[in-house]
Assembly symmetry: C2
Homo-oligomer: 417 residues x 2
């Protein structure tokens, strides 16, 4: 393993961060640190303060010239591995085609599944890399990556092996999630129990045993996996030591958020149709409300989750892109920040908190999503005067430098190889 010289970031114009998980800080508060310098050593933040007080460590000094710093953004819900884009469906939807019509025309998740099954690991790997580069360059330092376009054992394992390989070579940390229950595969259209048995008896045990995923996700929705089916599958995942999470209440008020809370899931995601009981359960359980405004925008959703109410009632909200070729073709967390402000009427501070502390919690990670001694040195250096300009001045990249585990990983919109 190479030894890297510590880095001393100096002359920061501003540094803003959530409290660490240990501090029991105020949710949605981005503290302003009384500091202009951060020392990064061995992948961690070692010290924060005024440059004159810096430890006498030999370090590479980087002058930030007044630029600002936040923790790296954490995209806790994404589908970055697929074999082909689906712009034809985007155009069909523009002309008013429904989800059902797109599926009937060979589109939707099964379209991606057909292509992923045919694809080699090398193709999937090469196809996914540029998306990771784009995400990193826009400020993402940890990215969830789901399977779910295989829908059969070999193709699901193939996706998870590709995710492992991407994680090995790319600066980004990938958090692998098994999503075999993304849809029912065509072979099991009339035999849901047959596929559920394959999931529970074969795929979940294999994925857990091989260490191919940290968590198991499911699309709990009318016409896809029912509450009862979701419960059985997620309980099996928990028995095998996987964390669980749920695509919940996106298109109808089925009760997925309540289920997620009852099962102690990491998060209940989408939740456009969450009901009062669901909100109550999320608040009391600590299961995170996973907000996906980019997908809501891309799908031209009329409904939005009751974000202000959830915040007021003590629910922890997190922010992600839901990057995928069908319903959210954008891997930029800064776009998620913008669209969160636009759609949910949160402010920049709340949006940043959700995309750092909130999203770390949605992945069960305590070592990131904040800046402090001992945290991972995952940082974004912004060229703006404050966090307020990032969602406001949108469609351009303000992430001047991105540090991942203490090393410069992207600069001026380009990843360093």
């Amino acid at each position: 393993m190479k030894i890297h010289m510590p880095v001393l970031l100096t002359n920061a114009g501003w540094i803003r961060t959530p409290a660490s998980p240990d501090e029991n800080g105020v949710p949605y508060e981005m503290r302003k640190l009384d500091a202009d310098s951060i020392l990064l050593e061995n992948g961690l933040v070692r010290w924060i303060g005024r440059e004159a007080d810096a430890p006498l460590t030999k370090a590479e000094r980087v002058d930030l010239n007044g630029m600002g710093v936040t923790p790296g953004l954490i995209d806790f819900h994404a589908h970055p591995v697929f074999a082909a884009t689906r712009e034809a469906e985007f155009e069909l939807r523009t002309r008013g085609a429904s989800y059902e019509e797109i599926a009937a025309a060979g589109g939707g998740i099964l379209n991606s599944a057909r292509r992923v099954r045919e694809a080699t690991e090398d193709h999937l790997f090469a196809h996914s890399l540029p998306f990771l580069d784009n995400a990193l360059a826009a400020g993402t330092t940890t990215l969830e990556a789901k399977s779910g376009y295989g829908l059969e054992p070999d193709a699901e394992y193939k996706m998870l092996r590709v995710i492992r390989r991407l994680n090995d070579v790319h600066a980004l940390d990938l958090f692998p999630t098994f999503l075999g229950a993304h849809e029912f595969p065509p072979e099991y259209r009339d035999d849901h129990e047959g596929y559920i048995a394959t999931l529970i008896d074969e795929m979940i045990p294999y994925v857990a045993r091989e260490g191919l995923a940290e968590a198991c996700d499911i699309f709990c929705e009318t016409g896809v996996y029912s509450i009862e089916e979701s419960t059985r599958i997620l309980l099996a995942a928990k028995e095998h030591g996987l964390k669980v999470k749920v695509h919940a209440d996106q298109l109808s008020p089925l009760g997925g958020a309540k289920l997620a809370a009852d099962l102690g899931a990491l998060s209940a995601d989408h939740i456009e149709f969450i009901d009062d009981e669901g909100i109550e359960k999320l608040a009391s359980s600590g299961t995170v409300a996973g907000l996906l405004p980019v997908a809501a925008h891309f799908l031209r959703m009329k409904e939005d989750p009751p974000v202000r109410e959830m915040i007021d009632r003590g629910v922890i909200c997190a922010l992600a892109t839901d990057f995928n070729p069908g319903s959210s073709m954008c891997e930029s967390m800064t776009m998620a920040l913008h669209l969160a402000v636009m759609r949910f009427r949160v402010n920049a501070e709340e949006a940043f908190w959700m995309a750092t502390a909130g999203s770390a919690r949605a992945l069960g990670l305590t070592d990131r999503g904040w800046i402090g001694e001992g945290a991972l040195a995952d940082l974004v250096v912004w060229s703006t005067d404050g966090i307020e300009q990032v969602p406001y001045h949108f469609g351009v990249n303000h992430a001047s430098q991105v540090y991942k585990r203490g090393r410069l990983a992207a600069k001026e919109g380009r990843p360093l190889s």
Copy 2:
């Protein structure tokens, strides 16, 4: 003047362009050229075809490796010169503040005007340059730049001199527009006739005489400039040889589009509330319908212009960012393409046509907005498989190379200095 070697772009995967204005092509059609190479010489496209047939000119050969080419994007409506961003108003609006409440809190156009009046030319110049860089790097090669944050003779002239200076040093072509009638200045709140007299008797003649602007624009809206006032001001502008254009029917159906057509204006812009007669007038007059979806998005407008109806009735539509710090803080034309598809339900081909041929027409320019022998060599090289992916895969930059007047001006999201 430096002599530059011709450039031969080769191995293009696809080349798509509107017809030239001389060809009377089908509106909204982006032709697929049977060619893989383009020769750029003396700032113009000299030849297009298959590489084997290229003229025997000594040229720098650039291998596009299958990437695609369109004309440079033309942003026909923008306010890139201002003294300070207005993120605080963005947050007020998020909390539900109305236009009137923001104005009462010291915000709005008069906020920018106060700051511009105080600013030096050097500050305005330096503040604006990064926006031009961002626009260029995202594929814009011609950008309109309006005054209108001065609202008094000296401050308006100052803005126009800054625009001239930016045009002199920057690769982008700027099209300067006088917008002294953007609002009524505070000194003339109770004396509209006094300011109108200043506009007609002093400012318009001076701007025209000094060659500080190509066109004169006006904010024709209830509570701002009435139809009658707009008519007098724009007729004065025409008398002094300026082209005219109108902010029309944005917030109410006042009849600005009809006025624009009657006066032979370049374009009627915004037009969320255009009525049937307005559409008919635009179709018959050739005045362009200026579509500004980024502003509509940023302002969370409920109304959109009747774009499909206008297309069907023969109106020429154009696409711009309306970049400004109050109501459209985004200088990226690729974001305008995305939001046009999202809001107006046009397809990628229609959106690209509007942003090239349509926008050229909205500025009265015939030498750009198309690719063909004799056109300006303003080109974007896209890293996508086709134009369809550009509005679909949004929030990241696909403009791999941008050529301005035959020279590489931006690459991989960064302008070349």
